[in-house]
Symmetry: C2
Subunit: 205 residues, 2 copies
C-alpha cells in the first residue's frame, strides 16, 4: 500500500499492529478519525494513555482495578476461601454476568504456552500457590478454556497445590443449554455422559 503522506502511513501502521486489524481496516479507522473533530482523536489518545499509565492490578487477584484491591476482593459478601482461576478479565466479566458465583477470582494473565514462549513464571501462578500455602483457600475452581494450553496450565497448578488440603474442581463441560445433541461434538457429548448429574440437582439452576 502506498500512501501520499508519511504521517498517514505511520498512523496506519501503528493501528494495524492491533490484533485482528489489517492495513485496510486501519486506513478506514484512521480516515474516520481525520474526518472527525480534533477532540475525538485527543480523547481517544488520552484515554489509552491514561489507562496504560494509571491502571492498577488488584494485589490479591490481579484483576484490573482503579484501586489497590478490586471491588470483588473488597466485597465482604464474597467468599474469600473459594477462588476461581481464570485467564483474563473478560472471563471474570462473563462469570459475573451469570450471577451464580459468590467466591473470588485469580487472574493468571494468560495460559502456559511453550510455542509462544509463555512459561509458568510469566503468569501469576506463584501468588496463587502462596495464597494456598497460607491456608486462605478452601476450594480452587479451574475455569480456563479446555484447550491444550488451558489443560496444561490447570495440571501445572494442580501439581503445585495437590499437597495442600484444598478442594480442586473444574467448571462442567457439556452440551450448551438449548443445543441439539446431533450437532454436538463427540468429546463434549462423551464428557457430558460420563459426568452426568443427578436429575434432582439439574432442576435447581
Amino acid at each position: 500500500m502506498e500512501f501520499s503522506s508519511k504521517l498517514l502511513q505511520e498512523a496506519v501502521e501503528q493501528v494495524s499492529f492491533l490484533p485482528g486489524i489489517g492495513k485496510r481496516t486501519a486506513l478506514r479507522l484512521v480516515l474516520h478519525l481525520l474526518n472527525q473533530d480534533q477532540e475525538v482523536t485527543t480523547d481517544l489518545a488520552k484515554s489509552l494513555l491514561d489507562l496504560k499509565l494509571k491502571i492498577k492490578r488488584c494485589k490479591n487477584c490481579h484483576n484490573i482495578s482503579d484501586s489497590e484491591i478490586c471491588d470483588i476482593c473488597a466485597n465482604p459478601k464474597r467468599d474469600q476461601s473459594i477462588v476461581c482461576v481464570v485467564e483474563d478479565i473478560r472471563d471474570i466479566m462473563a462469570i459475573e454476568n451469570t450471577e451464580q458465583y459468590r467466591g473470588v477470582y485469580h487472574v493468571l494473565n494468560g495460559k502456559i504456552n511453550p510455542i509462544e514462549g509463555i512459561g509458568p513464571n510469566d503468569l501469576t501462578i506463584e501468588s496463587l500457590t502462596q495464597k494456598a500455602k497460607e491456608g486462605q483457600i478452601n476450594e480452587i475452581i479451574f475455569a480456563l478454556s479446555s484447550t491444550m494450553e488451558g489443560d496444561t496450565t490447570n495440571f501445572y497448578i494442580y501439581k503445585q497445590i495437590e499437597n495442600f488440603d484444598i478442594k480442586m474442581s473444574t467448571i462442567a463441560r457439556g452440551i450448551s443449554v438449548g443445543d441439539e445433541l446431533e450437532f454436538a461434538d463427540e468429546v463434549t457429548l462423551g464428557r457430558s455422559i460420563v459426568h452426568r448429574i443427578p436429575f434432582e440437582k439439574s432442576l435447581k439452576a
Copy 2:
C-alpha cells in the same frame, strides 16, 4: 457490560466509537494494549495525534499530504488538465495501483447525502468548479461509486460545469474481469451491453 475499572471502561468506550468496532472488540484491543509495553500505546497515541495535528490537505486536489501540494499534483509528468473526481483518498490509492491513469485527482471528501445531512457545501465541489471556470481543465472523469449518493453528486457537479467547454466522463461499469456472466446482476450486465466497446480496443488493456 460492567467493568471493574473506570479507566478501562473509558478506554473501551472511546475505542468503540470507531466505525465497525463494537464493545467486545474494543475490550479485546484495549486488553491487548494493556499487555504490551508502554511504548506501544505511546507510539499509537502519538501517531494519531500527530496525524490529526500536522496533516495537510493538498491545496489543489484536497488529497491528504505532508506538504502544501501533494506528490501527484506536484509531479510534472501528470497531466493537470485531466481531473478524476473521487470520494476519498482510498479511491486514489486504488486507481494509482492500476498504473493506468496519468492525470490528477480531485478529492470530494464524501458524497452528497441528504439523509446524513451532507450537502454540496460540505464537499470540495466549489474549488472544482473554480478550477473549471479558470479554464485549467479539459476533462473530468467521475469515479464515485454508483450508488444513489454517487449518482446525485455526479449529476450536481455535471450541472455546475455543463456550460464550460469540458469533456465529462464516468468510469466504465461492467462485468469484472474473470467474473461469470450468470452471476452478474442485471443492471451491470445491461450496462455492459449498452456501453459495449469495439473488440480491437478491448485487446489493448
